[in-house]
Symmetry: C4
Subunit: 200 residues, 4 copies
């Protein structure tokens, strides 16, 4: 039992370390899209404003994922191979965020790039929910984690909002962007539910 | 003994941390090959499909290496200088995966790039097997690790399949790619043998 | 209590690990701006001197942030969601340092880039102070941390100096740069105040 | 004492983690210099051979630094602000290795790039020796570390060889490169002296 516990802790520790590494790199390489202009005046910065705004939105989203991932894994006791792959699946979609961000920023929030950005967010949100469900199934319905995420209204609501936002990008890209900002605000605070159950 | 154990644990911990860092960076910088197109319509994404497919394949391969490396090191008790270099040797070949992926993706799976991709996978597979053998030699034939990997059929089979796939790239690149996908599927699940022996 | 302590330690550990990861990546990707020239003689290196100087200054600044962040978190006992976001806020401004560095270096310290560099340093300094205040509020006025940073003269002075330096960039960019170097020298040594209080 | 020890351990742990992060990034971003050629035949790879060779040499050098840094810090008990800066000083010179590698590789080992590569190696070697001396001074002449590195012949010899190699680059670049390879081979094995003293 002690050995088993030690093994599980290590496994979870390395899962966290690898996820943190990938998230830290994703969040940082996005800034490489902000290329220094050749001119040295204020006007040269203006074309970068959409890129900066899309960088800011993606920075917040990746911060939210890091925060929630961190809180979810705190309530987790052990992991297995399926968890490792569900986690990599989440990281795969998040790794496409810099590409979607760059396309959206460099095209000044045109319909297709804004729609693609929403699709990537949608797939990442589904991957997060899948990871959460797999972790709950592994720990049992009576576990701390299961009780903490029992009614994951926010996760489902986010997915519904992304599904609404993607077609709206072709009506008005800023409508879709407003929804992305709304979802980000909704998630801005870390998952208090887990903190509350842990505190008991 | 306690001191020795502590030293070995630290050493293994830093080996894991460094390997995780390098693997996380390799897996993430590959996405930099997916450059945002200048046009903002769906057609602009089509030329990126081969690059995305080759990225997906390499992401899965690096995920497999991270998973298996993780499982193998869990069964490991201590390391020495030879292990550190055998590990760096593996990381060297894996660090060439982004280059091979980019060449294959940007040339739409042409024969030479597909063959080179297979050569890099082959050399990484050999480096992994060398690392495994060195770790087994260090821990002895009666160790948990030695029993877990005693009949490493999958490792040898992968090497045989790569050796077959590389010349096949010149007959039909998609034949070689089918073999790469097959090997990836074969390794998709983490090494249950080690889990089984650890569970005893 | 033990569980709570364990949770807090883990949380702080992952906060440190993520911050270290982001800071390590920021400090390292800056060097990508130093592109290898096509010519192979000494003269080809001369145009890179301003880029190298701005890289050196930013390297020292990021080293200072890493050092001070490290010392501050050593005096910290626990963290919450607000702390995580205050920390991400600091990392956001620091993530813009490579962009500001590249713009300043490639334009040979022209007024606007030098001013922008100061603005980014100013916003990072404010973000650091906000993080410090949030941590102090969380730990209470009698905590080790609160006593250590009670009279944060250096933090306030840095902000004042940046506010002076930014407009000076338009009078003479080298005046502003001299102030940036002065602030860096002022912070060069780690925060002895915290070390002193911890030593008691 | 327990608290002090705990603080020192943490400090050393974070020093190792940050150094590992920076070294992992440096070692990995070098591979970005190996850009995928537009053509898909074997001839397209030939111009990359010098770049690949210089990458291999730098990979081995950074592996050596990681290994030796790792061994040195294992014998270390605690750190202070001076140590943190001596460590950042070492990382600064190592962070210039990708630039020197790219210049040397893309100019097919021309005299000036080969000489610059040697200068960067020389400055990194001096920085390593400075870090070692500072750690020894901190731990005292009777410490495990001090006894382990008491007669650091290899460190001094490396510096002498670099000093010889740099001017030789202008006589024949391959002479200088031969010396760089020689020094790498000399350091290839981890520092057995420290292992020997630790084993006692």
């Amino acid at each position: 039992m002690l050995n088993g516990g030690g093994t599980a802790t290590m496994r979870k520790g390395r899962l966290e370390a690898f996820s943190d590494g990938v998230l830290a790199i994703i969040i940082t390489i996005m800034v490489l899209e902000l290329e220094a202009p050749h001119e040295a005046d204020l006007a040269a910065l203006r074309p970068l404003v959409p890129t900066l705004l899309s960088y800011l939105l993606s920075f917040v989203y990746l911060g939210i994922y890091w925060n929630n991932h961190h809180h979810m894994l705190q309530a987790v006791d052990h992991a297995d191979g399926v968890v490792l792959w569900a986690n990599l699946h989440l990281l795969f979609w998040l790794s496409l965020v810099p590409f979607a961000t760059a396309w959206m920023g460099s095209n000044e929030f045109a319909p297709w790039p804004v729609a693609l950005y929403g699709v990537v967010l949608l797939l990442a949100a589904i991957a997060y929910l899948v990871l959460e469900r797999i972790l709950v199934a592994l720990h049992g319905r009576e576990s701390t984690l299961a009780r903490a995420v029992a009614r994951d209204g926010k996760g489902i609501l986010s997915i519904v909002l992304y599904v609404v936002a993607v077609p709206l990008a072709f009506v008005g890209p800023w409508l879709a962007c407003a929804i992305y900002v709304l979802v980000a605000l909704m998630w801005f605070l870390p998952d208090r539910r887990i903190e509350r159950v842990l505190a008991r």
